[in-house]
């Protein structure tokens, strides 16, 4: 029982833009009035719904491989010393699980979506998510390079493919479907990639990436999943890839789709020497197609580690940088690559990437469709989000940063011409209300009566980055978890999942294929529900 009074509330889901309003909380939910045992004097403070991260990599085989590969970073990073309320851990490029929960909550984020989980190792991902405290969680299942699904698509058996995808989603205890470089990761098993939407994939006769994305988008809608197809396009990171990205969006016209980390997919030029921003082209198409959402995957300068299911791209990055490279193939399902990386302002390619991430956030008109991410840890670590907010809200600061880049950059980017500045209301949309809506979380990113009492209270500050990095209070499910930088309590979060229906004969179809394709027995494959802490099952309702 908690009452927060006198705060300026930014609650875009209900059109509340800085009005002074009391918020009452009881049993983890927002209520009309309450006999408050605790009161927070929020006069002069700013109240936001808790942040929602639509796309991050915080748990599972890939990030855990990245942790193993970067001990040199752990040593220099922020250490969390154990206390009565807190486990020990390390921050940095690939934070440990407990630290991940503390860092997200410490920044006012209360819900995170792990964006890439192979079904085969989903058990591992859930075990890690159980060790991420405070925040609520969900995860997306990798499906665009699964050989069983691809064979069905090639054979034109859409119905069966749909049921198999539904079965996989149930088995993984996932929340939605992720497609990474459709067909390209399967081709990587042949040492190849798949860069064009209408060319057949290595190892298949007629199946193309275009067929995969179209069918997966349709499957997601037919199953009524709360979150649309979450798509990492083909040809990530390559100069000139805007053509592939536009082609992909055209293939998906009329479908719901979430375009992940679009910063990596909006480049022009025909080589590293001529690479330029095509954020304007992306934004123009995107603005005209309201069934799409995107997150930016923005880049900030500094050290990080890149991890993606896009195996062939990571091999290229290893060859470009000569740094460490980890590769994980996941049987017939997907793959993964890990390469530490440093984004340098003096590097023209990196400078273009930095600009593209901001340009997309500034050129896309509707803040309800573009969300704040860095594709953690690929573009930068999630705990650097406040720096991006500052770049969005202060044009002067942005211009000062731009002045430090090589002069040649000016002709390759749109940023110098953009004067737009985000308001606090718009920030509340791109970091909370928007991603909550895109994920189909009706209880999140919303401060109306009956919604989850996840919220964050900031001090108004001319230093925007400091304001968002060090909230005054963070409240999760009605409990004060962060009090002026102190971790007060570390409750367990919930995990969201969906259980779409599938034809009961699907298991009979899959069982013999398991004998052929998998090294794990069919019975051992699905993740047991009792391994998951506080599972919360979301409805699948047919999408209109």
């Amino acid at each position: 029982m908690l009452r927060i009074y006198g705060g300026k509330v930014f609650d875009p889901a209900n059109g509340i833009n800085g009005q002074v309003k009391d918020i009452c909380i009881q049993d983890g939910r927002i209520v009309d009035t309450t006999q408050a045992a605790t009161e927070i004097d929020a006069r002069g403070l700013i109240v936001f719904p808790g942040g929602v991260d639509v796309h991050t990599h915080v748990a599972g085989g890939a990030i855990n491989f990245a942790r193993a590969m970067t001990p040199e970073d752990h040593r220099r990073t922020q250490a969390f010393i154990r206390s009565q309320t807190r486990r020990s851990g390390l921050g940095g490029m690939a934070p440990t699980t407990f630290a991940t929960g503390y860092l997200y909550a410490g920044m006012g984020f209360t819900t995170v979506n792990e964006a890439a989980v192979p079904v085969l190792s989903a058990r591992h991902t859930h075990e890690e998510l159980n060790d991420v405290p405070i925040v609520d969680k969900s995860c997306l299942v990798l499906m665009a390079n699964n050989e069983i699904v691809m064979n069905l698509m090639e054979a034109g058996d859409y119905e069966r493919a749909k049921h198999v995808v539904a079965w996989y989603l149930n088995a993984a205890k996932g929340y939605g479907i992720k497609a990474v470089n459709p067909g390209g990761v399967a081709a990587w098993k042949w040492g190849k990639d798949s860069k064009e939407l209408s060319s057949p994939i290595a190892g298949f006769n007629s199946l193309t990436p275009g067929m995969i994305v179209q069918q997966l988008a349709r499957i997601v809608d037919d199953l009524g999943l709360p979150h649309p197809l979450h798509l990492h396009c083909n040809n990530l990171g390559a100069p000139g890839n805007i053509a592939t990205t536009l082609d992909t969006m055209k293939h998906l016209e009329g479908n719901r789709v979430h375009m992940a980390h679009s910063q990596y997919h909006a480049y022009g030029g025909d080589g590293w020497d001529t690479m330029r921003s095509e954020a304007a082209q992306f934004a123009e198409y995107f603005n005209a197609h309201p069934s799409m959402t995107t997150d930016t995957g923005a880049v900030l300068f500094g050290d990080t580690v890149t991890i993606t299911a896009d195996g062939p791209w990571q091999h290229l990055l290893y060859k470009l940088t000569g740094r460490k490279w980890g590769n994980l193939d996941v049987e017939n399902e997907t793959g993964c690559g890990i390469v530490p990386y440093t984004y340098k302002p003096s590097n023209l390619v990196n400078a273009v990437q930095w600009a593209v991430g901001l340009e997309l956030l500034l050129l896309i008109n509707d803040p309800w469709r573009v969300f704040l991410t860095t594709d953690h840890p690929n573009g930068a670590c999630f705990w650097r989000y406040p720096e991006i907010i500052q770049l969005l809200m202060c044009a002067d600061f942005r211009n000062a940063c731009m002045a430090k880049l090589p002069a040649k950059i000016k002709s390759r980017i749109y940023l110098p011409e953009i004067t737009r500045e985000y308001s606090l209301y718009e920030i509340a949309i791109i970091m909370s209300a928007g991603p909550a809506r895109a994920l189909g979380h009706r209880q999140k990113g919303n401060l109306a009566v009956g919604k989850d009492a996840d919220l964050v209270i900031y001090r108004e500050d001319h230093d925007i980055s400091r304001m968002f990095a060090q909230p005054r209070y963070v409240i999760k499910a009605g409990e004060i978890v962060i009090d002026d930088g102190d971790i007060r309590s570390t409750p367990e979060g919930r995990e969201f999942m969906v259980q779409p229906e599938f034809d009961p004969t699907t298991e009979d179809f899959l069982r013999p294929l398991f004998e052929d394709c998998y090294t794990m027995s069919f019975e051992n494959y699905p993740v047991e529900l009792d391994r998951i802490e506080n599972p919360t099952i979301q409805d699948c309702s047919r999408v209109q």
Binding site: N64, A68, A79, R82, S83, T96, F98, S121
Partner: protein, 300 residues
Amino acid sequence: MYWGGNPAECHPRHFTKYALMPKSKFLPNGRKDRTVVLVDIRETKSVKAADLFLQVRPGKDFELLTILRALLKGHDVGDREIAQTGLDRAVLEDLLSRMKASKFGAIFFGMGLSMTRGKHMNSAALLTLAAELNSFTKFVAMPMRGHGNVTGADVIMRWQTGYPFGISFNRGYPRYNPGEFSTVDVLVRGDTDCAFIIGADPGATMPRPAIEHLARIPTIVLDPHVTHTSRIAKVHITTAPAGIAAPGTAYRMDEIPLPLSPAIDSPYPTDEQVIKQIRAHLEQKPNWLPDSQQTLASQV
């Protein structure tokens, strides 16, 4: 390709279940569609399974790997350098041309490589060779781990602390330094005044000073069996064997977790039950940890 391992005796299911025999969409004839190479210092029982056996001179793995990497890049390598590995040029060139011509290569390396002269340098050289082969064809490399759920311990330590082993919590947060914080080093230095050992038998493998230290201090062992370590321990709690009489999870060598379903009941408690009980009793003691006072300093 197996290097410094003897799967026929140490990983008896590896040939049949994973690496050599399985038939698949692109390898319909199973073993016949594969080429198997074994590199080792002696003829083990695994030689019978191989198409090609390269007997490297003991302690010359690093040199052989480096020569292969040089030849792969088209550098000149002298006959004398090749001869010291115990092999000749024709064999190495044949091997490399087969590797480059393969559709998908996999190298599995064992403790014959990673724990002999050169140690982690050998592993690094082999991993680099595998990475560089990807300029020609798809190649991967993976270690063949020891017995027990060693991979599982690795995986969990990594997500909780960032490091796989050799971790010290002395300062209240994890620090890593193999050679300083590894179990054997801590014991040899006599830096610990209590030992709690689960699912391992250091008494059978560690050097004498380490074992003598274990015998000196209160050593507590959780193990289903009587072991070298349990004999010198002050306390041995017999537990149910995992996977046979105790449920749980084991991580396979490729870090895929498998659920364990016990086949029989045991009169003994599981490791997990024992640890939970110890923990519950410890929690009765006054908490010596500080209140949370450290603030979340912004990251640099």
